[in-house]
Symmetry: C2
Subunit: 232 residues, 2 copies
DNA sequence: AGCATAGTTCGGCCCGTGCCGAAGGGTGGA
DNA sequence: TCCACCCTTCGGCACGGGCCGAACTATGCT
């Protein structure tokens, strides 16, 4: 009975150009229409029409500022859906990089990146594993924070249990380079925001990749016992 | 870099006829090509072509038996994806039923049904709530079985922790009639199978709806303290 | 005011694809 | 062996939609 709505929604992602838009927007930031057009190599007019459809369909949210049209994924749930779909379509090993530059970018992305609003790559895995080993996070029968995990967040001044509407506090997100689940959900988002705000890591260039700073290495070692080598 | 694969996958669901096929197949059973064609009202030739695309795209698995082509959703993960997408496209209240017969079917579906391979509707919610209240399941910071929950399954002769590859043991599935999460994942599937095998509930007609038997009411009251009224 | 830039709208082209009916093959029962 | 049934393949039609360039509007800078 919702078949037409399902088909209409799927049709939004059923075009390669729109799919590339959404994958680019998985970095969680807002892009302008022109940036997206250049990013995927289509005419601005084409991009404009695609964005119109994506916004009308509820997949993207837009914000007009002056002569710029900023666009981002509608919400965390939508980003999660896109990530799930993308993960589902890549069951095999990642394709070999086609150039030295691409190899460098892939390597940086594999080390650490944002996945919409939380941390992924080896950085995300290392944090998730360390939290599990230290008894802050349960993985065996579903992701869940322990009482000590909640306290750990509180010690950082974070309270992912409050507010946030219906968003799950913790959620497993499958990493497409490491093939292992890592921490997502409200707690993952708060931790990511905290890590960027407090200088644990900084974004590299204009992509989703992040680099752990020296200060970040110290903090991760102290708070979670993560060896700096695990992040390289 | 996986944009074309993502678009190709989404395109499978981007057609209303194919979407209706997949929603019908959410009951977890195998349908023949002809059944599906009649169900959605297209010519057998049209259905055949659609099924070819869905199978080639990995969304469905097929099994040929004699002159029948049985088709089902490829696996639990795929069913989960379809369910997620369908849930995402129905944020508003369900549409009003268009006939008395449809109202009856909807009411039966709301009481209890299967959702691919686990129980949903008020039945699924009641079980999930009862398990939470009795300390078998954690919901506060992500779905997870407690130690007592694992023992409870073991007492039924079920061991959802073993095997099953990479499937999560418990997972929250959003119910589209009750708007609340219920138990899914390997544990939800085992429990559903057990409930059908041991006669706690039986399928009604050819749809996804199930009815709780008198024996089922006794068992649910005894094992989980569920009042029979909660299921009506 | 004048100009550059960002985005939108429109017309036109063309390819992909959803649909059907007719014809054909494979299976199982009589 | 013949027939009924289930499914598939193929031809043909029609529609949708993705793409671009050109023209236009809106914003901001100088």
């Amino acid at each position: 009975m919702t078949a037409s709505a399902l088909a209409a929604f799927a049709a939004l992602l059923a075009d390669e150009t729109r799919a590339r838009f959404c994958l680019a927007l998985l970095d969680g930031r807002a892009w302008t229409a022109g940036e997206l057009a250049r990013h995927v190599g289509v005419a601005p007019s084409t991009a404009s029409e695609h964005l119109g459809r994506l916004v009308a369909g509820g997949l993207l949210a837009e914000e007009r500022q002056g002569r710029h049209r900023y666009v981002r994924l509608a919400d965390a749930r939508t980003a999660y859906l896109v990530e799930e779909l993308a993960a589902h379509t890549e069951p095999g090993p990642p394709a070999a990089p086609t150039s030295l530059r691409a190899a460098g970018a892939r390597s940086a992305m594999a080390r650490g990146r944002t996945c919409y609003d939380h941390l992924a790559g080896r950085l995300g895995i290392a944090i998730t594993e360390a939290m599990t080993v230290r008894g802050l996070l349960l993985q065996e029968s579903g992701f869940a924070l322990t009482a000590r995990g909640t306290e750990w967040f509180a010690a950082l001044g974070l309270e992912p249990l409050r507010g946030r509407g219906r968003r799950p506090v913790v959620r497993a997100c499958l990493d497409w380079t490491e093939r292992r689940p890592h921490l997502a959900g409200a707690a993952g988002a708060e931790l990511c925001r905290y890590a960027l705000d407090s200088g644990w890591c900084v974004r590299i260039g204009s992509e989703r990749a992040v680099r752990v700073t020296a200060e970040g290495e110290r903090a991760l070692a102290e708070l979670l016992g993560i060896a700096p080598e695990a992040l390289r």
